[in-house]
Symmetry: C2
């Protein structure tokens, strides 16, 4: 397999920053470069001393790269594809850290030249924190990274090696299954958490028990990132919201009938599922 020697990151925030810090440690022979979208970001990224080169010019950082990692909100990832396209070398691999995959993979296929591979990736970890200042080299240790490609593909092997080198377990999945699954296990939970924080009367919040704190913790997540995720996975999320509303209404009906046995039975099935699966 080809040796990875030059990696360029576009969007070195919390997730991307954690990846490059881990790469610096586990693949010390690799040359790391970063794109900075502003003077301030340029200074901040240079200060980290992680990168051989930081530049506000796409050509400078993209043209030597074997791998270009796009670590930004979904829409910015798609925009970046257009910016980096003219400078990608033949045989380069472009990958990303986006939380939805169908739209990104489709756009990558449309935008990128034939002699460049795109391999979508989605590490299933994170934080409400943002920015490289909070990033850390252990973020991906024992985490799961979903790679939306055929595992026998040459470029997919390179990208999965990259993730394994920083401690992640790699699972291959197609983009549609990815988006359907993520809608249920991540996007819907975020929408629920946002909606719950939205409706809790302010005067009640000071008495919040642990249960409410658990359910509202992720409602701290950034709007720009989540608006992109929601819109790019709109159809799955819409279906999952409907599913979820149906489940709530199921409880509401049992309540209306004061059907204690029905409620107990339902909760006991849920208890079992929770213990076995979650």
């Amino acid at each position: 397999m080809k040796k990875i020697s030059d990696i360029t990151i576009i969007g070195a925030g919390f997730m991307g920053g954690s990846l490059v810090k881990a790469l610096r440690r586990h693949l010390p022979e690799v040359t790391l470069r970063a794109y900075a979208r502003s003077k301030r970001s340029l200074i901040r990224l240079r200060k980290t001393k992680i990168f051989s080169e930081v530049s506000q010019d796409f050509k400078t950082v993209v043209s030597p790269a074997d791998i270009v990692v796009l670590a930004a909100p979904v829409e910015a990832i798609i925009e970046s594809l257009r910016y980096i396209k003219p400078f990608l070398k033949k045989g380069a691999i472009v990958t990303d850290l986006g939380s939805s995959k169908v739209e990104i993979c489709r756009e990558a296929k449309k935008i990128l030249p034939k002699e460049v591979d795109f391999i979508g990736a989605h590490p299933l970890t994170g934080s409400e924190k943002s920015g490289i200042a909070w990033s850390h080299e252990k973020l991906y240790e024992r985490s799961l990274c979903l790679v939306t490609a055929d595992e026998h593909d040459r470029a997919a092997k390179v990208i999965s090696r990259l993730w394994r080198s920083v401690g992640a377990k790699v699972v291959f999945i197609d983009p549609h299954s990815h988006d359907k699954m993520l809608s249920a296990i991540s996007h819907l939970p975020h929408l629920i958490s946002f909606s719950l924080t939205d409706i809790i009367p302010a005067s009640f919040a000071k008495h919040a028990p642990a249960s409410l704190k658990d359910l509202t913790r992720i409602s701290d997540s950034p709007g720009d990132i989540w608006a992109d995720i929601f819109i790019s996975n709109k159809d799955n999320i819409t279906a999952d919201i409907n599913n979820f509303i149906k489940a709530l209404k199921g409880f509401q009906l049992l309540l209306k009938k004061k059907d204690k046995i029905g409620i107990v039975r339902k909760i006991e099935l849920i208890n079992r599922k929770k213990r076995e699966l979650l």
Copy 2:
């Protein structure tokens, strides 16, 4: 203020057990008695060595009590009122740990004799655990206990002293406000968590990220306890489910219109509320 010398607990499980363990420590001069509903429970409670007396006979444990603490699911609390009624001494105070208050307070007023006071209480802490084996004397330290009575009432003062003695902060509230508030901050979150676990496809659950784990943690909560809570606070919960569905549909509409600015704005308001209040 009258000295508390005899306390009897009916339903010494996780919550009630933690209370008596804390009382044993902080009010060592008090005589603690427990009612056991079965031979097995009698043996288990005697083994704890907390109680001067454990009995399967209501008269034995209720008649000497200054305070009778009902620590059971809502419906069982209401049933217990009938069982203890004939044996309560004049001036005794009956209190409880129930999670909804309107129904319990109304029934207590109906069932108990005039010369006995009922003071509802609801400590806002807990666990998915149940049973006295898991209970511990520090459960109520720095917790909040809602007491549904007039703070100038003699009996309310005794009960709030009891809770303060085990480290809880006491807040007085009327039963209707209590149930309205608890519906929003606890009962709705539990219904949401149950419903979410209910609809997550089993095959996706193994990839559950931290967000889903947070939101489904309390779906482990026992059905018999929660069925009672839901049914006894049915009207508030039904209204809150409707509110919550409206909030979800609000997001769904923004999604349908792919209104990124609208979604970002909404989430940013929610982020602020979360940071300031939760």
